[in-house]
Point group: C2
């Protein structure tokens, strides 16, 4: 477990991906410093969904029990038509699901998962530094130099750039731009009156959807509303405002329309991704997480893929200790095709959610006739990846579900 002793690694960015990457490298013995631009660690947002591809990694890191303890184990993933309320299909998340994927499906407040990863990184010895703006990274003579906005330079053996969708690191490596989807999300949480039940429910409407599920052991109800902005379609710079929220659900059932009145109104999330790239850096620098593969949230895989990244980084770093060019090349080589598929599938799945007209009829017919005992649409995403380590410890959490 001391494969990386004497290796100094800098992680840029203290989101889920940065924290997990820092944690795994510190556990391998590296001296890891993580720099976060914000004045404090934390996460904005509400609930986050963790498929078993993510919770298997959390289990391997010994973090699943706490994740489950602070989160919620939904009974089903349910898709409904937002204009009629009709249930289109449901995926049960009980014993069969957990057995197949060797881990449970968990929903958790983003701030809770972030805190778990933050504490685990700290306990693993990561030096966590806030309020620090990394301006750029330069590679000079087998060293990676991290240059701060205030002029300081930190010398490292390797740099993991986990600076998210708007990654300045990616700007220098790839030079591409985020792609606006024209869709905007509003979120919110409510005290849970229990009426919703124990399912993750997504109501699919024309150019809009609405998702609701319990959070924090069922104490809260999480809400996400996502809709296409007419102002964006008109080419306006400001788009996705409150006025559009009010109009976006007018074809939906009263249940959905009513729920959307209870969202937070003071903040919104215009949704962007980027096109997949094979260029995740070179030498001693790699992108990871959203910096490497920002994605639309339709598969709920943003954080999950960042955790997969950290797990793969852990394996490749242990496989070629201290040889960072080899580690990062193997890491990106493994992760790029996988994350590119998730990025592009998320785009398509979002289109499927938001169709109207005859496409809506086709989607509903397809979903209503889906074999609910089949995992054909899920295995590629939730199943064990080539190279993924076998779980040595099966968590009680995973096996206790009936």
């Amino acid at each position: 477990m001391a494969a990386l002793t004497q290796q100094k690694v800098v992680v840029v960015g203290g989101g889920m991906g940065g924290l997990a990457s820092a944690m795994v490298l510190a556990r391998l013995g590296a001296s890891v410093t993580l720099y976060e631009h914000a004045p404090a660690f934390g996460e904005v947002g509400a609930g986050i969904q963790l498929g078993p591809n993510a919770t298997r990694r959390l289990a391997a890191w010994g973090l699943l029990d706490e994740t489950v303890a602070r989160g919620f184990l939904p009974e089903r993933l349910v898709l409904r038509d937002a204009t009629t309320g009709q249930e289109l299909t449901a995926q049960r998340l009980g014993a069969d699901f957990v057995e197949r994927y060797q881990a449970p499906y968990v929903v958790i407040h983003r701030s809770d998962l972030h805190a778990i990863l933050h504490d685990a990184a700290a306990e693993s010895g990561v030096e966590l530094v806030v309020d620090t703006h990394v301006e750029r990274i330069e590679q000079v003579q087998d060293r990676a130099l991290v240059i701060m906005a205030d002029g300081r330079v930190v010398d490292a053996d390797a740099v993991v750039a986990a600076d998210g969708l708007a990654s300045a690191s990616r700007d220098r490596i790839v030079g591409d731009q985020p792609v606006p989807s024209g869709y905007v999300a509003y979120r919110g949480t409510l005290p849970n009156d229990g009426e919703h039940g124990a399912d993750v429910v997504a109501w699919l409407g024309p150019r809009c959807h609405f998702v609701q599920y319990p959070l924090r052991r069922g104490e809260l109800l999480n809400m996400v509303a996502v809709f296409q902005s007419p102002a964006f379609l008109r080419g306006e710079v400001e788009w996705g405002g409150e006025d559009e929220l009010d109009a976006a659900y007018d074809r939906c059932t009263p249940e959905v329309r009513q729920a959307t009145t209870r969202l937070w109104r003071d903040r919104r999330w215009p949704m962007y991704d980027r096109n997949p790239t094979t260029n995740w850096g070179s030498g001693r620098v790699t992108l990871t997480g959203d910096a490497a593969h920002p994605m639309l949230q339709y598969l709920a895989q943003g954080a999950c893929q960042a955790l997969e990244d950290a797990s793969a980084l852990e394996r490749h770093a242990a496989g070629a200790p201290g040889d960072w060019p080899a580690t990062f090349a193997a890491f990106a080589g493994e992760r790029q095709p996988r994350t590119a598929r998730v990025q592009t599938t998320a785009r398509t799945w979002g289109e499927v959610w938001h169709v109207d007209g005859v496409a809506r009829l086709l989607r509903n017919e397809l979903l209503r006739h889906r074999d609910t005992a089949s995992y054909a649409y899920l295995d590629w995403l939730y199943g064990r990846q080539a190279g993924e380590a076998e779980l040595i410890t099966t968590t009680a959490t995973g096996s206790s579900r009936a």
Copy 2:
């Protein structure tokens, strides 16, 4: 069999629906005269598909054996993606199908079916008159007066207006207009080199499709190409020209592109239907066939529904002999919901055939996973209708297929 003796009936229009209606009323004993505007009887076009809902009626009238003898019994209905060539689904038309629907699926040259109905009408005693322009129909004191363009007036007990899509009778009864679909059909026949096989194959492409099947005992190959006209979308008066045909299939497989070069170029069929109406006439006058329910051809039901009409007219005329207001009210009351469903479903099915983008993915996924042993999508169309008489004679044709 002489329920209608001394009843004088005029049928307007000598297409499939007019001929079949005239035939059944003549067989019930009525004195039937059919007036056709054209200088000779005949049909333009190429192949026509007859589902078992139509061939059951032909069997009941003793016309199925000749229809099969002059037509072709396809083995399967096959849907393929026109851009990849991939087979999406197939409906076998063999023994199970024939047993379920008590009649075979037959394809036949339009002119052959027209000749069969013409000869049957003539043999049943229908007076068949060409080159006669019926200007209008008026009801005066329990009589129906058929007023010709040349001033002649024919007095009748009842009038069946089977004057097709552009029905002048419907103009006076309903006053609506044909609805252009923006799609145009090109047709053609070729000597059959045998390479195509024994299936009815439809290649489904974005805003286009192409259908091919054997005809005339397999001697000919029938082709239909249907595509959306860009000129129509631009609002131009002339649309669907040859230049558009050449461009419409550019995303399709070489097989399809090659086939479309062999279509007839001297004639095209811009495709229209009308919105369903509950007003099929009153008193002693009724619309029937395309005059009552013109439809897009995506379910291949235009002629089939006209034959269903004639069969229902036969039953209701026999049930209230000489009481034409009661006969026609019962006829339209039975037929209107049925044909309206076929009209609207044909529109939707056409949309399904022509989708692009994510809707195409959904359509293909739905079709590829269809349970090919299930008749769930077919029973409503091909199955026995409420009120439809049991077939007394099961034709050898129907039971000889393996």
